[in-house]
Each structure stands twice: as C-alpha cells, then as structure tokens.
C-alpha cells in the first residue's frame, strides 16, 4: 500500500516534513499555491499563452482557476499527493534544494523555472519525473480545456448538434 509520504520518495518527503509540510488544501485560500502556478504556467505554456501582457495575465489567471476547479474534482488521495507536491514547492528549503529554485516564486526568473522543470522532467528519480508530469498534465489541461486556447490551434470547438 502506498502512503502519501512514500510518494515523492523517502528523503525528499522527510525534507518536506522537516520544513513543516503538514496537510493543507490547494484551494482558493492557498495563496502560495496560486503564486506557484502563476509563476510556472507562463513557462510551461510559453508560446501558447497570448503575448500581450494584459491578455497573458488574464490567461494565467484562467489557468490558475482552471487548475483549482480540476483539483477540487480529484479524489481525496490524489489531492493529498498534490498537497505534498505543492508543499515541496512552497517551503523555501525544499524549493531551493529539491526544485533548485533560488528565488521566491513570484521573483523566480523564467530561466530558473525552465531549469527546474527540465531537471525534474529528466530526473533519475522516477517520482520527480512523476511530479513534473503532474504539473504538466494539470496545467496543459487547464489551458487547452479553455475555449480561449482553441483558435490558435485551429480547433473550432464542438460542432453544433441540432
């Protein structure tokens, strides 16, 4: 049986716990989580989000909200695992040493975030690859599930059924 703590892998999870990673909810109230998503999304979705600054900010906000809705619809076990992942990204110590991001999320440079995503994507630790994949899946779904993303990709949306 797999427990939450085993998910990311022993030593890393231990670090998160040392850093105070008790359970908390990823939700509208989770201001830090929103900041994390708002920092990562423009990098993960670079080239997909609109370039115009105001439109881009709105799109990032859409991704954050889309993710919140999606996470709220997940089973409790998966939500707990995501909380743990966001715990690692949130606590300065683990953000620094597990994700390799020096600056607080709102200040992190795109390059730094690209390096973080790439290092998890190709990590030798399967659980970190899984964590990258979870971010990839949630953010891609949040953006491409949104009608605003469709024109750019040549998708006219669902047909009209009479």
């Amino acid at each position: 049986m797999m427990t939450r703590r085993q998910w990311i892998g022993g030593s890393i999870a231990a670090a998160a716990l040392v850093a105070g990673g008790a359970a908390y909810e990823f939700s509208a109230a989770g201001v830090d989580e929103r900041a994390i998503v708002a920092a990562i999304a423009p990098v993960l979705l670079d080239g997909a989000l609109p370039r115009d600054p105001a439109a881009r900010a709105g799109a990032v906000e859409d991704v954050v909200r889309g993710m919140e809705v999606a996470v709220a619809g997940l089973p409790l076990e998966l939500r707990a695992q995501l909380n743990q992942l966001f715990g690692i990204l949130r606590f300065p110590l683990t953000r620094r040493f597990v994700a390799g991001v020096r600056d607080a999320w709102p200040d992190a440079k795109p390059d730094e975030i690209t390096r973080f995503l790439t290092s998890w994507r190709y990590s030798g630790v399967a659980r970190l690859r899984g964590a990258y994949d979870a971010l990839h899946q949630l953010m891609m779904a949040a953006w491409y599930g949104n009608e605003r993303a469709w024109t750019a990709i040549g998708y006219a949306g669902p047909p009209h059924v009479a």
């Binding site: 080239g47 619809g73 998966l78 190709y122 891609m140 040549g154």
Partner: protein, 536 residues
C-alpha cells in the same frame, strides 16, 4: 432537438435514486444486486430483469445523459471518468482511462467492437482450462449482443486520422481492416469519448439499462459499494456508501442491500477493490493480481494537409498485422489503431513544454496519431499488475513495465513512425520525452533505437483495464469459474472485464458483452429455473 429519452424515462417514473440526496440510512431488498453499470453490469441487468428478477443496480458515479454531453473535455472528464481521467498506476507511469457514470466506460468509449480473438480463446482453453471458451460455443452470444447493440462495420469513409493508418500501412504491404462499431444513426461527430450527444452510440446508458429500468429495476447512483458481509458460505448483505453531491467525498449515510444473489461488475480495479475491502476468502492471494492494461504507446505525425483528428468517428481502421507476426506467447504483439485528437487529450499526452510543445499544438489540425496496444499477459514476463487499497479504501493499481513489454513498445514506436512516413508525414514525433520531431524514417529509427525505455519517459496510457478476478477451473489460480461464479461465496458472481485471465488482445467491450450475456443467462436459469429469454 435530440430526444433525451433516458431523462424522459426518469421523469416518467423509472426508479432512479441519487444517494447524495438521502438524509438517513436506508435498506433495499432485491433478488439480485448488481454493482457497476458498465459493459458487464448493464448486460447482466437487462437479462436478469427480463427474466423476472427484481434487480437493483449500484453505481458509484452520477447519471448523466445526452443533454449533459456538451462535447467539452473540461466538463466531460471530471463528470464521466474515474479520477477525472487522471487515474494513474501507483508509480504514475501509466495514465488509465476508465468511465465512472451510469453506463461505466461504455458511456465514454470509442465504439470499436471486436469479438474475442480466436487465438486468445485457444490460449484460455489450453492454459486455463476454460473448456467452454471456443468460438462456436460463444458465437451465438456475440451475435446476440451485436444485434442488441447494432454492431456493424463502419460504413462511412474513415476520417483522415484513420485513413492515414490505412494508407500508410498499405504502402508497406501491411493489411488493415474496417472496425465494427456499436452505433445507430451516428453523425460522425467524433465526440464518443465525452458521451455521445445524439444517443447514437449504443452504450449501456441507452440500451440495456433503460430496458432493465422498464422492467422494474432500481438504480442507485452516487452509491459506492463498500463491502459484502460473509458468513463462510454466503454473502449476507452489501453495504453501500452514499457519496456527497460532489460525487467524491463519502457522506455519513449508508444503504444496506439484501439480495438473494450479488453480481460484481465494478470493472477491473473496481471489482477486486470491493473483494479486497470485504475480506472474502482468497487463500492463494489472487484477487487484484494479473490485472492487464493493453499498455499503449503513441506516435504523432505532422501531415502536409489538415487531418482534423478531433472530427469524425474516432476509430474506424485497425491492423492486427503485428499481433500475428509471431506466436501469441512469444515476443509481445500489438494492435494498431488511432485515437481521437482533442485539445486536452492531445496537450496532456504530448511530451515537452514551452515553445516546442506550443508549436506542435499550433499544428493540432495537422496532427495524425497512431496508437499501439500491447497484448499483455501471455508470457511469463508479462504478469500484469496488482490492485491494492489506499488508506481510505480506494484502489490503486501497481503495474510494473517489464523489459519484455518495453521491447514491444520500442518495436511499436518504430512501426508507427514507418507507417506515418509512408502515409506522407512531414515529421514524426514518437511520444517519448527524449524525442524530437524527425523528418525521415531513418532519423526516427536511429533515435528510437536509443531511447531509454522507462516510465515517465516513454508516454504510456491505457483505456482497457482487464483481469484481477480471473476465471478458471483451478481454485489455485482463479477467483471465479468460467461462468463467473465466485469460488468461495456461493451467491456471488463476477461479470465484467476483471474475469479475463490475460488481456483480450482486442478492444474488450464486445468480449465483455458476449461473455457476460452468456454467464448472466446461465445465472438467470439458476435463479429462476427457466431458460433466460434472449435480449435480441
């Protein structure tokens, strides 16, 4: 306007009860309680109800009908799929698509309908002693379900995504065929995976379940079967947990079901989970073991002309060539098909991020995707996965990808790239984190040969979960007998995809319909003393 006759039926008095609305515990009595309303549960419900038995159906998910099917991924996945279509194996290496509303996976499946392949049946007879599993004995049951569900080879032209598979394969001398589909009046829209908005797809939601409800069956929704009580020989009752209106969190209320007989049809993963929670005898620790996935690897091609893979019947062409190039228990075989290409499914499956990902997404309309379904379970190094329970009682599947399976995955990536170039692809991107778009087959071949084949590097998905309550005549290696009867609890049978002792080696729905129809008819006769009436 499309008539939503299921909703009309409910408004007209079918007995459907949404347990998220109950405010106290309750009891329900029936002749037969069926857990799960998918391929197995739906088929059994119609047969048993028409045989005059009082049936109660228990479904964890909600009732959603054609009016709700708005063809938007963002709405469909959370409402209609297990874990919002984000269910994964324990190590997160494989994404598993399974349905979770009335009709189960049949409400969201892609309508491909194949009888169980004869080489699979031969293997089951020889290796597992399933004597009655020969083509001639099963043929009438498959034929009955083909009539019931309007299964015919697809008559219209395949969409461009499917025709590229046919044309590319033909250039290489690889034969392909037209897929039979369970549709009636299909408008060729391509949204089967989000629930058919026109009721053309002959899923359980619009066929067998309405028929059972018309015959007085009771349907409980947002109702999670938790556990059976067992007195050493028989099941006494079934405890059902009401879910809250979000459909996820358990409420404090339970419904106790007392029935003469219990049918487990919660699907692979779901059915073993109920057995594990119930602690029924399992002396050889077989429950949940040998769970198979037909692990799927994918290849994306950018074509010179639009493909519009989001439009048109999602699957209409297949090739079994690579299932037949070697014996069934030698190197792993694979079936070739294509998937629908909708934005969320594509974007989440497409490897990479940032600009490279966005550039390919911008060409979505030109994207052609082939999938290879690996036939697992026929070799000692393909023993499948095993289901365990999380702390809260929900199931999780551990499925180790073995070198044997990876070898087939690599071969399949090569095959798909070769077919796509033969079909005229400008570039091919195998779904692997180390891949780039390749502009020629030699370039792709050289790269694929060197890919590290490991989880979360090679994209692996599955929409076919099978096994975990294997049929067999030897109690030391099976959970139920060849009619689905549990080896230890005399009033329990299993009718769903969990009973297969290996994978099917073809998209499983018709195998489940046919075998469940036979076994449910057998059960009806046992319970009523009369021959079950055919349902078509």
């Amino acid at each position: 306007m499309i008539r939503d006759f299921v909703r009309e039926g409910v408004e007209g008095g079918w007995d459907v009860r949404d347990l998220s609305r109950i405010d106290r515990d309750a009891h329900v009595a029936a002749d037969v309680a069926i857990v799960g309303t998918g391929a197995g549960g739906g088929t059994a419900a119609e047969i048993l109800a028409k045989s005059g038995l009082r049936v109660v159906l228990i479904e964890e998910g909600p009732l959603r009908t054609s009016t709700d099917f708005r063809m938007r991924e963002r709405e469909a996945y959370p409402q209609l799929y297990q874990e919002s279509a984000a269910r994964k194996t324990a190590d997160k290496g494989i994404t598993i698509l399974q349905g979770r509303s009335v009709g189960g996976s049949t409400t969201v499946n892609w309508t491909s309908s194949f009888r169980t392949p004869s080489d699979t049946l031969a293997f089951w007879r020889e290796r597992y002693g399933l004597r009655t599993f020969d083509e001639a004995q099963l043929a009438p049951w498959f034929a009955m379900m083909e009539r019931r569900l309007q299964i015919h080879p697809w008559q219209e032209a395949p969409n461009a995504n499917n025709s590229a598979l046919r044309d590319g394969a033909a250039k290489l001398g690889i034969p392909s065929k037209v897929i039979p589909r369970n549709v009636d009046g299909c408008r060729n829209l391509g949204y089967c995976g989000m629930g058919c908005p026109t009721n053309a797809k002959q899923s359980m939601l619009v066929t067998t379940i309405p028929a059972a409800l018309r015959h007085g069956a009771v349907l409980l929704t947002r109702a999670r079967a938790e556990r059976f009580s067992f007195d050493g020989t028989r099941i006494g009752e079934l405890t059902v947990r009401a879910l809250q209106s979000d459909g996820i969190a358990p409420s404090t209320h339970t419904v106790t079901i007392r029935a003469r007989h219990y049918v487990l049809a919660a699907g692979a993963i779901g059915s073993p989970a109920v057995l594990l929670r119930s602690g029924l005898p399992d002396p050889y620790r077989l429950v949940g073991k040998r769970t198979f996935l037909h692990p799927v690897v994918l290849s994306l091609a950018v074509m010179p002309q639009p493909v519009n893979g989001f439009s048109g019947a999602p699957q209409s062409i297949y090739s079994d060539h690579f299932m037949q190039t070697q014996p069934i228990d030698a190197a792993i075989g694979y079936k070739l098909e294509v998937p629908p290409v909708h934005p969320v499914l594509a974007a989440t499956t497409l490897v990479g991020f940032g600009d490279t990902h966005a550039r390919i997404m911008n060409d979505l309309a030109y994207g052609q995707v082939i999938i290879a379904l690996l036939r697992d379970g026929f070799h000692a190094e393909s023993a499948g996965g095993s289901v365990a329970l999380n702390g809260d009682g929900t199931p999780v599947l551990d499925y180790p990808m073995t070198p044997y399976v990876w070898e087939g995955a690599r071969r399949a990536l090569l095959t798909m790239a070769e077919i796509q170039f033969a079909a005229g692809a400008k570039a091919v991107l195998p779904m692997h984190e180390d891949a780039q778009p390749y502009e020629s087959f030699p370039a792709a071949r050289e790269a694929i040969a060197r890919f590290p084949m490991e989880i979360l590097r090679t994209r692996v998905v599955s929409a076919h979960v099978m096994g975990g309550c294997a049929m067999g005549n030897d109690v030391r290696e099976s959970v139920v007998d060849e009619y689905g009867a549990h080896h230890h609890a005399e009033n329990l049978t299993v009718f769903d995809g969990s009973v297969f002792p290996t994978s099917v080696g073809a998209n499983p729905q018709l195998s489940i319909y046919g075998i469940s129809a036979r076994n449910a008819s057998h059960l009806a006769q046992r319970l009523t003393g009369k021959t079950a009436a055919p349902i078509a």
